[in-house]
C-alpha cells in the first residue's frame, strides 16, 4: 500500500457500466480489474481481456489495438459494448476518474 489512490473509474456504455481499477507501472498497466453489469460471451473471456491489457501503454491507440486483438483472438461477443468503451473506461481510470 503506497497510500496513493488506486486509479479507478466508471464508464456507462450503451449497455452496462464498465468499472475499471488499475495498477500502473510508469505509463503502462501492470494490473487491471474490470467489473460491471455488461454481458460477455463466453464469460471467461473477461480474464483474457484483462490479460490482453496488462503491459499495455495507457494511450488511446495502443489500448484500442490491444482490445481489438482480444476480440479477434477470442471471438468474444459483448452486445452493445464496443472496443472504444473499454478504452474510454481505462483512460478515465488512468486520468483519475470522474
Amino acid at each position: 500500500m503506497s497510500g496513493e489512490r488506486t486509479p479507478y473509474a466508471e464508464f456507462k456504455a450503451p449497455k452496462g457500466v464498465i468499472k475499471v481499477e488499475l495498477e500502473m507501472a510508469g505509463d503502462k498497466i501492470s494490473h487491471i480489474s474490470i467489473s460491471g453489469d455488461f454481458f460477455m460471451y463466453p464469460e471467461e473471456a473477461i480474464g483474457a481481456l484483462e490479460r490482453a491489457l496488462e503491459g499495455v501503454e495507457v494511450r488511446g491507440e495502443t489500448l484500442h489495438a490491444a482490445v481489438q486483438k482480444f476480440y479477434r483472438s477470442t471471438g468474444a461477443l459483448t452486445p452493445m459494448v464496443e472496443p472504444e468503451h473499454w478504452v474510454e473506461a481505462i483512460l478515465r481510470a488512468a486520468g483519475g476518474g470522474k
Partner: protein, 268 residues
C-alpha cells in the same frame, strides 16, 4: 377478453410441434435456485434434460449479482445483514437484482442453442417476447428493450440475463410484482454514473412494478399463468407439466456449495 386469449393459445398450441417441460412454482434459497439453473443447463446440454420453463420465489429474499460485478462495489452488506437477505453471484452477466420474496417472481428458461436465434439480441427478443405478451395479458403496454430488458409504460419492469454453455442456453430474469423498492435501493449501491445519466430523471422513475402499473396487487399464480401463456405464444411451444428428475436434484446438490461459497461470491 380473457376467453379470446385462451382460444388463441389453444389454436397455436395445436399447431406447435415442440413440447417443453414446465416445472411447478418453487420456493428456494438463492444458492439452491442458482444450482438448479446450472444443473438444468448442464443436463440439457448433455441431452439428459428437456427444454424447460420454471418460476420460483426466493426465501429468504436475496440479491443476485451478475458474474462480472464486484460484490464490494454493488452490495451493501450491512443492509443485507440487517434485512436477512442472501447475496449470490450468478453465472450470467448483467446487473444486480433484488429478489423480494413477497414481491418478485423469477423465471428461467433452459433450451438447446438451436431453439433460439444465434444472434444474442434476437435470442433475448424471442424469450423476452414471452414476458412482453404476459405483461400485455395483464393489460400493460410492454416492449422489449435491447439487450435484456422489458419496459412497461416506459419504465423497466423486468430484466433478464443469459448464458450459452456447451450448446445450450440459460436465460433467467426477474418480474417485478410489488417489491419493496426502498429496500432494493438500500441493498444495491447504485452507480453515480447511472444516476447522473441525463435520460434518467430519477432512480425511482426508471423502474416500475405490476402493482404500480395496474393499480392492484396481482398474485404470483396470476402472473405465472399469464407469463406461461406469453412464453407459449412467443416460443411457439406447448408446455407439459413435469418435475425435476432425480438426476437434476442430485446435480443441484453437488453444485449448491459453489454458490454458497465465499470464494465464488468474492470472485470479483
Amino acid at each position: 377478453m380473457s376467453s379470446t386469449v385462451v382460444i388463441n393459445i389453444t389454436m397455436e398450441g395445436e399447431l406447435a410441434s415442440k413440447k417443453w417441460r414446465l416445472l411447478p412454482l418453487r420456493i428456494d434459497d438463492a444458492f439452491t435456485a442458482m444450482a438448479i439453473d446450472e444443473a438444468l443447463l448442464r443436463l440439457n446440454a448433455e441431452g439428459k434434460s428437456p427444454n424447460t420453463l420454471r418460476f420460483w420465489r426466493w426465501l429468504p429474499s436475496a440479491v443476485s449479482l451478475g458474474c462480472f460485478q464486484s460484490v464490494e462495489r454493488e452490495v451493501d452488506f450491512e443492509a443485507a445483514e440487517r434485512y436477512g437477505v442472501d447475496v449470490v453471484r450468478r453465472i450470467t452477466g448483467g446487473g444486480a437484482v433484488f429478489h423480494d420474496h413477497d414481491g418478485e417472481l423469477t423465471y428461467s428458461i433452459v433450451c438447446r442453442q438451436g431453439d433460439v436465434p444465434e444472434d444474442i439480441i434476437e435470442s433475448y427478443r424471442l424469450i423476452c417476447g414471452g414476458l412482453v405478451r404476459g405483461f400485455e395479458n395483464l393489460g400493460l403496454r410492454a416492449e422489449f428493450k435491447p439487450v435484456n430488458d422489458v419496459h412497461a409504460n416506459g419504465k423497466k419492469i423486468s430484466g433478464s440475463a443469459q448464458t450459452r454453455r456447451w450448446g445450450s442456453v440459460l436465460q433467467h430474469g426477474t418480474v417485478l410484482i410489488s417489491p419493496d423498492v426502498r429496500q432494493m435501493f438500500e441493498l444495491l449501491k447504485v452507480s453515480p454514473e447511472k444516476i447522473s445519466d441525463k435520460f434518467i430523471a430519477s432512480v425511482y422513475g426508471r423502474v416500475t412494478t405490476i402493482e404500480r402499473e395496474i393499480g392492484r396487487k396481482s398474485t404470483f399464480w396470476e402472473v405465472r399463468e399469464t407469463m406461461i401463456a406469453g412464453f407459449e405464444d412467443s416460443l411457439n411451444v406447448k408446455f407439459q407439466e413435469g418435475e425435476l428428475t432425480s438426476e437434476e436434484l442430485e446435480l443441484t446438490k453437488k453444485l449448491r456449495p459453489k454458490y454458497a461459497s465465499d470464494e465464488w461470491l468474492r470472485k470479483r
